[in-house]
Every structure is written in structure tokens, then in C-alpha cells.
């Protein structure tokens, strides 16, 4: 999403002053970021099938959420969906993959194994008990494996977080991952509707309201 002055003239003219414009630019960038997540094709076990179901297959079609460009290379991706158990031998590789991704990068941990170790927590000599022992995780998607709807709900949660500028790596803002459990009786249509309403809501900036909220430095208030 680019901001071309010709097209967006009314939008820009309504913005009062350069400083304000810059802070709002953050929001515009966040909006763009949140709606064009490029996931890395990374799957270790069962959750990967449900992830493929969600991203690749036509029934659940992740393209509606702007995240259809799955990249096999971490250099081109900005969303890491950890799908499946992480074991000791894989842990350094996961770390490398994460480090190879360009900033800003977001991490969704799907499934019980990546949250806590899941069914392999006791008596297992290799299973890492939670992917956030290795890399910072933004959103947990519970399930074993989570349904595609659950994954979408997780992506929606992450999108909200990005729009608010809150991810796990902003110090002082959030230190723990968000648990994004799919509430009962939520269907794909509900998620889609919420996504749409969020988009619309974010696209219209209420300048008057924003001006009141913003505590301007002296001399800049009109």
C-alpha cells in the first residue's frame, strides 16, 4: 500500500501539520504491514498440513487476509508460522531461520507442541517445551492441530497487534505472547467480516478525535 499524494490528496490535506503526519505515517505503515504478511513455508509436523490447508487450498484461502504469498526463503518472508514440534536438533535451525528474516518480523506459534511441548512434554529427551524458549513469539494459536479457522483467528490477532504497534519485541509494551483461542461458534464468515470491518475502520482516520487524543508539544497546537 503506497501513499501517492495525487490520489490521496483529500486524506493528506486533512492532516494538520508535519509532525502529526509523521506519527500517522506509522499507522499507515502498520496498516500496510498487517495486511501484507508473507509467511515462510516452514512446517515440521502435523500442524503444517493444516497450515497448507489454510494457505494453499481454495476452501480456506488465506489470500483474503493478504497473506497468500508464502515464501520458501526466510529472506523474503516476514511472518514465521511455527507449525509443529520443535526438537533440540531443529532448535538452532529455527533460530537461524528467524535471524535470516528481515525486520519487521512476526512469529505465530501454532499447536500445542510449539506452545508448551504438547503431548511430548514428559519423558521426551528431545522436545523443546515451547518455541518461545528459542525465539520471541507474538501469538499462540492453540489446538492440536488448530483448525484453519483457528490459524486465521491467530493471524487476525497478529494483524490487530501490528496495527496497534504492539508486538512482543517492543520493550515495555508486551512481554508475553497473546493466546488467540478461537472462541466457540466463530465461523470463517465471522472472521472475514471482522477483518473487513477492521480494514474499513483503520482506513478512515477521525482527525478531530485524533487531534484531541494527541498531546501536542507546545507551539504545535493550532
Amino acid at each position: 500500500m503506497g501513499l501517492t499524494p495525487e490520489k490521496e490528496t483529500p486524506f493528506i490535506e486533512r492532516l494538520p501539520g508535519a509532525n502529526y503526519m509523521l506519527t500517522r505515517m506509522d499507522q499507515v505503515i502498520n496498516l500496510a504491514r498487517s495486511n501484507s504478511l508473507w509467511p515462510l513455508t516452514f512446517g515440521t509436523s502435523c500442524c503444517a498440513i493444516e497450515m497448507m490447508m489454510a494457505t494453499g487450498a481454495s476452501r480456506h484461502d488465506i489470500a483474503r487476509f493478504g497473506a497468500e504469498v508464502a515464501r520458501p526463503s526466510p529472506r523474503q518472508a516476514d511472518l514465521l508460522i511455527i507449525a509443529g514440534t520443535i526438537v533440540k536438533r531443529m532448535a538452532p535451525r529455527l533460530r537461524t531461520l528467524y535471524e535470516q528474516m528481515a525486520e519487521p518480523r512476526y512469529v505465530i506459534a501454532t499447536g500445542a507442541c510449539t506452545i508448551s511441548g504438547g503431548p511430548f512434554i514428559y519423558q521426551s529427551y528431545t522436545t523443546v517445551r515451547g518455541a518461545d524458549e528459542i525465539i520471541p513469539v507474538d501469538v499462540y494459536v492453540p489446538g492440536c492441530p488448530p483448525r484453519p479457522e483457528g490459524l486465521f483467528y491467530g493471524i487476525l490477532t497478529l494483524q490487530r497487534m501490528i496495527k496497534q504497534g504492539e508486538t512482543v519485541r517492543r520493550p515495555g509494551i508486551r512481554s508475553k505472547p497473546v493466546m488467540s483461542a478461537l472462541p466457540p461458534n466463530i465461523t470463517m464468515n465471522d472472521i472475514e467480516a471482522e477483518m473487513e470491518s477492521l480494514l474499513r475502520q483503520e482506513a478512515d482516520i477521525d482527525v478531530e478525535k485524533a487531534r484531541k487524543e494527541r498531546d501536542w508539544p507546545t507551539g504545535l497546537n493550532h
Binding site: K88, R89, I121, Y122, Q123, S124, Y125, R129
Partner: protein, 174 residues
């Protein structure tokens, strides 16, 4: 425990029937004996030194022709201080399955490899080395398969201990 499913009672007077296949293997005269434990298929046991000659014969003998090593695994019998090697053979021609068992001491678990007999033995033995530390003599490429090369210990041994592993066991309902 009262309503536990218990093993069916076997009348003690009935003499154990020896399977025809077991007899066929024993008359080869390569040290095979009837299996001392219980198994659900024809089973023989053999000493570790006689394992390779017996297995070669089992594959090559036209009347047996065990051309497939279906499974090879190890049972850690800590109370008897042995590793029991378990080989499941299958004959495609005769459609018969045979268990060959061999016991080796836990302190010095050395046994000859079966790679010359079946190619898959190389990899099934590597798994057994990785998890139990069985040393296969003359193995072409004996190294870890699932774990890193610098892993300490052999995790599927009963006495394996690890700082990482959570050994909490859920309390039994009494």
C-alpha cells in the same frame, strides 16, 4: 485392579506346542533354540556369536527364504542385565514370519552386523545404536541417526538420565 483385564488362564498341564517352522530352523544346527519367552509368532533364540551364520542361512535356505528383515529392535531387560535383540523376518515366498532373538550383556553390547544379509539392517542397526548403544561389529557406517553426534548417553536405555527430560509420571489411580 479388581476389574482389570487379566491375561487368559493357560492350563498348566498342556505341553507347549512347537511350531513346524521353529523345528525347521532348529534342525539347521546353527545354534537356534526355541524362544524362552513368550511370543505370538514362531520364535527362536540364538547366541550372539551364531547370529550372522544363522541369519545368512535363513535367507539362503530355499525352504525358509526369509528375504525381508521387517523390523529390528532392542528390548532393555534391566532386571536380567541384558539387551534382547529382536529381529522379525518375513518370507515373501512362504509367507511366514519368524522372530529371532539374541541376548547380549548390558556392559559390553557387541554383536555382529547383519548388513551383508539385508541392506536395511544397516539402518535399523544404526537406529538401535543411536537409542540403545548396541555396538555392531563390522558395521560399515555406525553413527547416530536421530540425535546429534555429540549426544551423551543412549536415551532408550531404562537407566538413561538427562537434565533436560521431565520425568514426572502422572500418579496412578489407586
Amino acid at each position: 485392579m479388581s476389574d482389570a483385564i487379566t491375561p487368559p488362564e493357560v492350563p498348566a498341564s498342556e505341553p507347549p506346542k512347537q511350531d513346524a517352522l521353529v523345528t525347521q530352523v532348529i534342525v539347521l544346527g546353527l545354534g537356534a533354540e526355541p524362544y524362552a519367552r513368550k511370543a505370538d509368532c514362531p520364535a527362536v533364540q540364538v547366541s550372539a556369536t551364531q547370529l550372522l551364520p544363522l541369519m545368512t542361512r535363513l535367507r539362503d535356505d530355499a525352504g525358509l527364504a526369509f528375504d525381508m528383515l521387517t523390523a529390528h529392535t532392542v528390548v532393555d531387560r534391566l532386571d536380567a542385565n541384558i539387551f534382547e535383540l529382536v529381529y522379525y523376518l518375513y518370507s515373501l515366498n512362504h509367507r511366514k514370519r519368524l522372530l529371532v532373538s539374541s541376548s547380549i550383556p548390558r556392559e559390553n553390547p557387541v554383536v555382529s552386523t547383519l548388513t551383508p544379509v539385508w541392506k536395511i539392517a544397516e539402518f535399523q542397526e544404526r537406529e538401535a545404536y543411536d537409542l540403545f548403544g548396541i555396538q555392531y561389529d563390522n558395521h560399515p557406517d555406525l553413527r547416530r541417526v536421530f540425535l546429534e553426534d555429540d549426544w551423551k548417553g543412549f536415551p532408550l536405555r531404562k537407566d538413561y538420565k538427562d537434565d533436560f527430560m521431565l520425568t514426572h509420571v502422572i500418579e496412578e489411580e489407586s
